[in-house]
Symmetry: C2
Subunit: 300 residues, 2 copies
C-alpha cells in the first residue's frame, strides 16, 4: 500500500468511525443540556480514533463475520473511544496536568468549568459501560461479555488508571526505568492492548490468538507512547496542537530524558517491528500494519 | 420487629456486607500502593451500606434462590457500593462541594491530595464495572447482564451523573420545584431505584415486579434525600459527621428552603408509606420495611 492510498483510506475510515461513535452521544436537551454539551464537545474535539480503529482492524484480522461486523464491534468501538476521552478530560484537569489546550482547542474544563470537567469524564466513563452492558444483553453468545471484561480490566486500576496514578505520584521526582516502563505499559499500553484483544474476542478468536494480539497491542502502545515523548521534546506547538515541552514544564522524567533520543528512536522501531511480525503471524491485514507504522512514526 | 431487634439485625447485616465488599478491594502493594490505599480508605471510611443491603433484601423479597444468593448478589452489592463511593469522592472535590470532612473523617482528596481524589473515584467506578463484567462472564443466565445494564443506566448521565450535573449547575441560583425534583429523582433516587431493580432481576423476578420495586426504590430515594436536607438544616455536626448547614453555606436551594419543614416532613412520610405498600404488595420482607422506615426517619 503506498502512502497516499493509505492516507486516503485512513481518512475514510476515520470519518466512518466518527459517524458511528457520534451515534452513541447523548442529546443536548432539557436539563441534560450542559453535561451533554460537555460530553459531546470532549468527544467531537477530534482525535485519531486509533483505539476504535484497532478494535475493528483486529476483528477483521481474526476473520470476524462481515455480516455481523457493525453489530458486534460498534458498541465496543464507541465505548473504547469514550473511555480514552474520559481519561484525557480528567488528565487535563488543574489538579492533574493542568492543560488548557488539547488538539489546538480549549480542554473540556477550560471551556465548561472544572466541575463539568470532572463530571463530563464521569459521564463518559459511565456511558462507555452502559453501551457495553447493552451490547452484552443483546449478544447471542459470550463474546460481548468477555470483551467488556477485558476492557474493564485494562481501563481500571490494574491498567490505565494504575499507570496514570504512578505517573501523577512521580511527577517532578526522578523516575527509574522500571517505574517508567510500568507507567508506559499501563497508562497507554493497556488500552491499546484491550483494543486488539477485544477485537479478536468479538471475532471469535481463541485465547491463544487473543493473547498474541494483546501482546502486539502492548508493543504498539509502548512504541506509540515513546513517540509521544519524543514529539513533546522535538515538535512545535503548531504540529502537536498543544504546548511543547509540557513534560519538561511539569518536571517529568520521560523516555527521552531517561534513555536519550537515539535509544528512544531505536526502541520505537524495535517494538513496532515486533508488533508487526506478530500481526502478520496471525493473519492478513495490510491496513493494520500500515496503521501501526503511521502511529509510531507520526509527526503529531 | 421491635426497634432493638432491628438495630441488632442491622448491625449484623452491615458487618456481613462490609466483609463481603472488602473482599473486592485491591491489595495495597507495589506501584499500586497509593491508589489502592486511597480507594480502600474511601470505601472503608464507613457508610451505612444501604444500597448493597437493598440489593440483597430486594433479592430476598422476590424469592431469589438461597443457595445461589451470595454468588448472584455479592458482585453487584460491591459494585453498587463502589459506584456510590466514587460519586461521594468526586462530589467532595474542591471544584464540586469542596468538603473536607465526611462521616467525621477527612475526605479522600483531603487525605491523599486532589489528584488522587479524582483518580480514586475513577478507579472505583472502573472497579465496579470490572466486578460486574466478571460476574456476567460467570453467570449461567442473562440476569447478571440485565442487572448490570440497569445499574449502568441509573448511574450515568440519565441517572445519578445527570442529577449531579444539574445540582452543580444550579448551585447558588434559585431553583424551581421541577428542577429540584429532577435532581432528587436522579441524584439520589436513581441509584436506590437501581438497587431495588437489580436485586429483583438477580432473583429472577419478571419485569412487572422489577418495575414496581424500582418505583418503591425511587420513592424511598426521594424520602431519603428530603430527610438529608432536613438534617442538614436541623442536625448538629456531631450527629451528622460533617459541617451542618453546608447546603446553606453553598447557597443551595433545598427541599426545606423550597417547601418548608412541615411539607418536607409530610412528604417523607407519604413517599415512604407508598414505598412500603408497594413492597408489601410484592412479598414478605419485614426487615426491608423496617430498613426503609429507619432510612427516612434517621437522625444522621
Amino acid at each position: 500500500m503506498n502512502e497516499s492510498d493509505f492516507k486516503q483510506l485512513l481518512k475514510e475510515k476515520t470519518a466512518c468511525i466518527n459517524d458511528l461513535i457520534y451515534g452513541y452521544l447523548p442529546e443536548e436537551t432539557g436539563y441534560f443540556k450542559k453535561i451533554s454539551e460537555a460530553v459531546n464537545y470532549s468527544v467531537r474535539a477530534g482525535g485519531k480514533r486509533l483505539r476504535p480503529m484497532l478494535i475493528l482492524e483486529s476483528y477483521r484480522l481474526c476473520g470476524g463475520s462481515r455480516e455481523e461486523e457493525e453489530k458486534r464491534t460498534a458498541p465496543f468501538m464507541a465505548a473504547m473511544e469514550f473511555i480514552h476521552t474520559y481519561s484525557l478530560v480528567h488528565d487535563d484537569l488543574p489538579a492533574m496536568d493542568n492543560d488548557l489546550l488539547r488538539r489546538g482547542l480549549p480542554t473540556t474544563h477550560a471551556k465548561f468549568g472544572e466541575d463539568f470537567g470532572i463530571l463530563a469524564g464521569d459521564a463518559l466513563l459511565n456511558l462507555a459501560y452502559e453501551i457495553m452492558a447493552e451490547a452484552v444483553c443483546k449478544s447471542e453468545d459470550d463474546t460481548a461479555a468477555k470483551a467488556m471484561k477485558v476492557i474493564a480490566k485494562k481501563a481500571g486500576i490494574s491498567g490505565m488508571v494504575g499507570g496514570q496514578c504512578l505517573d501523577v505520584e512521580l511527577t517532578g521526582k526522578p523516575m527509574s526505568e522500571e517505574q517508567l516502563d510500568f507507567i508506559f505499559k499501563l497508562k497507554t499500553g493497556a488500552l491499546i492492548e484491550a483494543a486488539f484483544m477485544s477485537g479478536a474476542i468479538l471475532a471469535g478468536a481463541d485465547s491463544e490468538k487473543t493473547e498474541a494480539l494483546g501482546q502486539a497491542g502492548f508493543l504498539t502502545g509502548m512504541a506509540f507512547q515513546i513517540r509521544d515523548d519524543i514529539l513533546d521534546m522535538t515538535g512545535t506547538e503548531e504540529e502537536i496542537g498543544k504546548p511543547v515541552n509540557s513534560d519538561e514544564k511539569n518536571n517529568k522524567t520521560t523516555y527521552v530524558t531517561l534513555y536519550g533520543l537515539e535509544r528512544a528512536e531505536d526502541d520505537v522501531r524495535n517494538f513496532s517491528e515486533k508488533a508487526e511480525n506478530m500481526i502478520r503471524a496471525t493473519g492478513d491485514n495490510e491496513f493494520l500494519v500500515e496503521l501501526i507504522r503511521s502511529m509510531v512514526s507520526r509527526k503529531k
